[in-house]
């Protein structure tokens, strides 16, 4: 299992890993951070709404609106 230095990255990863699996969880987090101009190591509390929104958008295609919203709301509660 992947371990991040950044506590937010680790918490987000812990939420999405059981659903997405290791490769996809890592890939999604990296892709969405890149699209926000940050990296997994520089995530701050203020980035969480944007990351959860991006991840929600990314996961809709696999989980539908309801499923992806459920994941996004968990990230917002970190």
């Amino acid at each position: 299992m992947t371990k991040y230095q950044n506590e937010y990255a680790q918490k987000i990863y812990d939420i999405i890993f059981p659903v997405l699996g290791e490769l996809m969880a890592k890939g999604s987090l990296r892709a969405q951070c890149n699209s926000l101009g940050i990296t997994e190591d520089t995530i701050q509390a203020k980035d969480l709404p944007a990351i959860s929104e991006k991840l929600k958008k990314g996961l809709i295609i696999f989980l539908g609106t309801e499923g992806s919203m459920s994941i996004a709301s968990k990230i917002l509660k970190i």
């Binding site: 059981p18 659903v19 997405l20 699996g21 290791e22 490769l23 996809m24 890939g27 999604s28 990296r30 892709a31 969405q32 699209s35 991006k54 958008k57 990314g58 996961l59 809709i60 295609i61 696999f62 989980l63 539908g64 609106t65 309801e66 499923g67 459920s70 994941i71």
Partner: protein, 269 residues
């Protein structure tokens, strides 16, 4: 998960029966088997995809994409049933009766599948998820171009150049391989996207769906080639590709539902 295991077991059993019957049965039994098995398999595809469709609560584009795939499977089931009824029930020579009502259903199913798959494809592109290694994309594109050239050279050009075939027969004979080439492309793209993410539950619906369409379309292309050259007969082993294709499409639906339900369970814990 129990349903998925049962369907995998059913798939294995059905393919085993398929091989035994096709290798040992008399011509009459072969005719019945080659008309009944696709109808049964396509019905399972309808069931699996319907089950996935019902799992989505919100009427978003994902649900609509699965709805189009469901419509495609229903049209395929209607086509397989119609073909069987015409051949067994009305003793029609289906090689002479081309195109038939069954062909109308089959041709319509391509459109439904195409819309469903293009929606999934566009949804993925908009998702912001990685689009994959550009070198592998280039390699796959080259392989695909090669396949297309083979199909055009060995199938499409001979059909176009044939002077004895009627216009309508030509149109339908060209429609199938062109539809298959497009479907293979979509299947390869979906498989490529999802193969970046390992082997978790989230990857299974698309993997099974893409493999299902791949097997189905390759069998269809081989059928078109054999049929055009008058070398296809009932009970040909390439039928297994269709059967496996339908069953994998059905299994993809069960995996999709399993995935959506697993999120619901996690939420209620």
């Amino acid at each position: 998960m129990k349903k998925i295991k049962l369907l995998w077991l059913f798939t294995a059993l059905l393919l085993l029966v398929n091989v035994i019957v096709y290798l040992t049965a008399s011509e009459k039994i072969l005719l019945y088997a080659s008309d009944l098995l696709p109808a049964v398999c396509s019905l399972f595809a309808v069931y699996g995809i319907y089950y996935a469709y019902k799992g989505f609560k919100s009427y978003d584009f994902v649900k609509v994409a699965w709805l189009f795939i469901l419509i495609g499977t229903i049209l395929d089931f209607l086509a397989e049933s119609t073909y069987g009824i015409l051949e067994i029930g009305f003793s029609m020579d289906m090689n002479e009766t081309f195109p038939s009502l069954a062909d109308i259903f089959w041709c319509s199913s391509y459109i439904a599948y195409f819309i469903g798959l293009i929606m999934l494809f566009n949804g993925y592109r908009r998702s912001g998820l990685p689009l994959g290694n550009i070198k592998i994309q280039a390699l796959l594109s080259m392989l695909y171009v090669l396949l297309s050239v083979v199909v055009v050279y060995f199938l499409l050009i001979p059909i176009i150049q044939d002077g004895e075939t009627e216009f309508l027969t030509k149109v339908f004979s060209l429609y199938y391989p062109i539809g298959d080439i497009v479907t293979v492309a979509m299947a390869i793209i979906l498989l490529f996207f999802i193969s970046q993410f390992g082997s978790g539950l989230i990857t299974m619906p698309w993997k099974m769906l893409a493999l299902g369409f791949f097997f189905f379309s390759v069998s269809d292309l081989l059928y078109s080639y054999l049929s055009w050259n008058d070398t296809y007969g009932s009970g040909n082993l390439i039928d297994m590709g269709w059967h496996l294709g339908y069953l994998l499409i059905g299994i993809s639906g069960l995996y999709q539902r399993e995935l959506v339900d697993s999120i619901k369970k996690r939420r209620t814990l």
